[in-house]
Symmetry: C2
Subunit: 178 residues, 2 copies
C-alpha cells in the first residue's frame, strides 16, 4: 500500500535506520509512524540428531541480558540468506553444516520494524571451531529436544525468534513423521 507522506530519517546507523512517516488516513486524520529499517537476518536451527539441538548463550546489550538463542545474525548487503546462515552458524557455534534447508520466514517486530527473519534448519554438522566478532560473548550448548521445548514454554528461553523457530521446526518434524 503506498500513500502520500512526509518521510524524515532521524537516525542512519550501521545496523538499522529510523524513518518517521507522516500521512493522512481515509478520514483525513494525521497519522505519524516511526519505522526501524533493518536489512533482515537469518536464524539457524542446528540439529545434531533428532534429539539434540545446538543452542547458544548470548549476551545482548539491548535487554542487558544473556539469552538462550539459536545462532543468528543480520544479512550483509546483497548477501544470500542461505550463505549468511552457513556463515553465522560457523562463526557463532563452531559447527559447519553439509545440509541446510529453509524452514520459513517471519517479521520479528512488525509493529515498528521491517526486520524479516529467514529461518533455516542445519544438519550433517561437523566441528570446525568458533570465530567470534569483536563484542560477541557466546557459549555453545547441546540441548535435548524435549528440554528445549520446555525452556521455550517455562520462561527460560526469552528470545522470541528462537521460540518461534524451535516450535516451527518441531511442528514440521511431527507433520513429516505422520
Amino acid at each position: 500500500m503506498s500513500r502520500d507522506c512526509d518521510i524524515e530519517t532521524p537516525h542512519q546507523g550501521r545496523l538499522f535506520s529510523v524513518e518517521v512517516r507522516t500521512y493522512r488516513d481515509e478520514q483525513g486524520r494525521e497519522i505519524t509512524r516511526e519505522i526501524v529499517r533493518h536489512p533482515g537476518a537469518v536464524l539457524i536451527v542446528p540439529v545434531l540428531n533428532e534429539q539434540k539441538l545446538i543452542l547458544i548463550r548470548n549476551y545482548r546489550i539491548a535487554p542487558d541480558q544473556t539469552l538462550w538463542e539459536f545462532p543468528a545474525g543480520k544479512l550483509e548487503p546483497g548477501e544470500d540468506p542461505r550463505n549468511a546462515a552457513l556463515r553465522e552458524l560457523e562463526e557463532e557455534t563452531g559447527y559447519s553444516a553439509a545440509r541446510i534447508e529453509p524452514l520459513g520466514t517471519f517479521y520479528t517486530s512488525p509493529g515498528f520494524a521491517d526486520e524479516l527473519m529467514h529461518v533455516f534448519v542445519a544438519e550433517e554438522l561437523s566441528e570446525v571451531g568458533q570465530r567470534l566478532e569483536p563484542g560477541e560473548e557466546i557459549e555453545v550448548h547441546l540441548i535435548g529436544r524435549e528440554d528445549a521445548l520446555e525452556m521455550a514454554t517455562d520462561g527460560r528461553m526469552q528470545d522470541g525468534k528462537s521460540i518461534a523457530a524451535l516450535f516451527m521446526w518441531n511442528h514440521a518434524r511431527r507433520i513429516a513423521a505422520r
Copy 2:
C-alpha cells in the same frame, strides 16, 4: 552488566527512542551498539473454546503488509500488562474476557531492541464491539486450532510474536492434558 560508555540519543519518538552506545570490550576494542528503547508490549491469545482462536488481519506500515496476528499493543507508561491485554483485546477484536492469565514473556528482537512482549491467554469471551485507533485497519477472524498451527508453519502467518505465542499456548495445553 554495566560498562563505561558514551550514550547518544539520535531519535526520541512517540513509540520508541534510539540510543547509540560506544564502549570498549575486555580486549580494549571499541564497540558501537545501536539500541531501540521500547516501553514493552502485550499479546493476547484469545481462546473461544479449545478448538477456536481469534486472529486478526492487521495492516503494518513497517513491512507494508497485512499480517495474520494475535491482538497486541504497546504498554502505556506505568500500565499493568494484564490491564493492557484486556484493553487491547477489546479495542482490536471487540471481545471482552472474563478470564485472562499470563503465559510468558519474550524479547521480540533482542539483537537491536529491548521490547519485552507479555503474552496472555484470554478465555470466557463475550462480544462487546471493536474500537479502533486512528490509523488501525483490523479484520477479526475465528480460526481453528489446527488451521492456526498450519498457518504458523506454512508461511501464511508472518508475525514472529504470534507464531511463538501460538505454539507456547499449544505446548502448555498439551502438557496440561498429559
